[in-house]
Symmetry: C2
Subunit: 325 residues, 2 copies
């Protein structure tokens, strides 16, 4: 299975490593919209200009598109789906139906298979919700994220004047998680479920009080949470906050029995040292499924909901039944 | 979707309740090999003789077979798959390939769809292993069961002379679970991972020391574990041990990155007040998938590995993408 990477940020670098753990796959190269000579890959993988991508039409089985959801993927995924099987990690929940429709049109017309919104949320968290809801149709869901770095929130702080660097951790509130396990967290507000910890390197002479206030009152990002702001040095940032850990848990609690007398709880939990590398692992498994489904004529846009788990695995159906069932 | 139940034990009773939580399904009735007049259903569902099942050939979309794996299902599932779409909970791990082959032959020849080995282990635990292995191909697995009642082990104690009733709890060892999260539990022995707690009602005048010794030295069941035996009264058994709770966790820990520098942990955890009712919830969701797959011409024997999660859900593809992704 010949895999290519389109875009070389944290996810692209993660895919480069993840494919090496899958002996049934090989990497063709990285495509970049930057000057290819300016991009140095971690493993010496060749870098090509995005302009040359069509020359590789018959040399790539699946293109993993590693771009941002705000502006990159809405354009790139439908465009590349006209010529390749593709996988992306589109994660703007509210715009998924629109993205799905655009990608489905391009992939269906050209006979390709596209899998969108891969990763862990959307992705593995989503699929764990679907299983839980199918088993416990009246179950209640809670999703907790963290403790982990939110890159969107870190970026939002970095845009404040006087801020040199920032890292934001989303932290789940333990007592809310305990309530969720009991099925008692429905209707909890954002503030009741998570806190936000911000570590900020300020520019010399900046007004720290103003920065802290701008963070804590920022609508959508911080105003609805209990937020703490800690000013640190550049050295501390580098030493203590250079990794991108994350994780979280989806909890579903439902009742069964003639009179709902039995409580049943399902938890799907991730503890990730590296958020982008785990996301990459999911994208690579989805690429395997995209390739196989395309080979069977299953074209158009898919999500992880449409993919039989066996299609994600390098193991044969017989091996799966013998060793995993 | 018209569902029927074949066999009316704990699982059959659980299916009867579970279907009521799914508005897209209705129950046709229970089929029993006992005298139908001797079987009283929990909800007043009609009971028919197993001998009359073929008269219902066109009135049932999926038959959920609720029998034991030792002798019932190896015969019943292939037999019923000749005339019905079927779901079973066959759980003798070592014999799954053989059962699969027998059921596949019957279902393929007759154009039906059969899903075997539904439930939570095999079942949801199995599918969580497949996902984890696809994402972290070099990850290590540990499965812990409990704290919960093992019916097979309880039965084994009941067969000892002088034992009137017994309940066996499988209990995971916390320190082993902590090691598993760190990826350090590989090669742990049975004794290192679980203990076994037995509650026994002895017949009057029975030799308690002999019973305790027979339990603790029983090969396969108890000899490889640290086992405790507590003798209790019939009243205590009824008061404290009349429920069938269970649960457990599948832990997968793998590493990612250029030099495996990042640890990633996936946990799928169940806490069940009622083991048979949760199993029933899974079987009912699998029945939905069997019916849909048969409608698309996907016949033969399947496992949960072959089923796209969307096929388990009562929600439409659009609803799933909008609300679960």
């Amino acid at each position: 299975m010949r895999i290519a990477i389109y875009g070389y940020g944290n996810i692209g670098r993660g895919v480069e490593c993840a494919v090496r753990q899958n002996p049934d796959m090989e990497l063709v190269g990285v495509f970049t919209r930057r000057d290819p000579r300016s991009v140095k890959t971690r493993t010496g993988l060749p870098v090509y200009s995005a302009d040359s991508v069509l020359e590789f039409k018959d040399k790539i089985d699946v293109m993993i598109i590693c771009g941002g959801s705000a502006t990159d993927l809405p354009v790139l995924t439908p465009m590349l789906a006209e010529n390749f099987n593709v996988v992306d990690s589109f994660d703007t929940h509210a715009r998924i139906p629109e993205h799905f429709a655009n990608v489905d049109r391009a992939a269906s017309e050209s006979g390709h298979t596209a899998v969108i919104s891969g990763g862990w949320d959307p992705g593995m968290f989503s699929v764990s919700r679907v299983y839980a809801n199918a088993i416990l149709p009246q179950g209640r869901f809670s999703t907790f994220w963290g403790r982990g770095v939110s890159q969107g929130h870190s970026d939002a702080i970095r845009r404040i004047s006087g801020v040199k660097d920032a890292r934001q951790y989303t932290v789940p509130i333990l007592s809310a998680m305990e309530a969720a396990v009991k099925g008692e967290a429905e209707g909890f507000t954002a503030r009741q479920m998570h806190t936000r910890e911000c570590y900020v390197v300020a520019e010399e002479g900046a007004d720290l009080e103003r920065i802290e206030n701008e963070i804590k009152t920022m609508p959508n990002y911080f105003a609805d949470y209990d937020t703490t702001v800690t000013f640190i040095t550049e050295e501390e940032m580098k030493k203590d906050h250079s990794e991108l850990p994350h994780g979280g848990v989806v909890i579903c609690t439902g009742t069964t029995g003639l009179d709902n007398e039995h409580r049943q709880t399902i938890e799907y939990r991730l503890k990730l040292d590296s958020n982008p590398e785990f996301t990459s692992g999911v994208l690579v498994a989805l690429a395997r499924a995209a390739c196989r489904m395309n080979g069977r004529g299953q074209t158009g846009c898919k999500t992880i909901f449409d993919i039989a788990p066996a299609d994600l695995s390098a193991l044969s159906a017989e091996e799966l039944r013998a060793h995993m069932l």
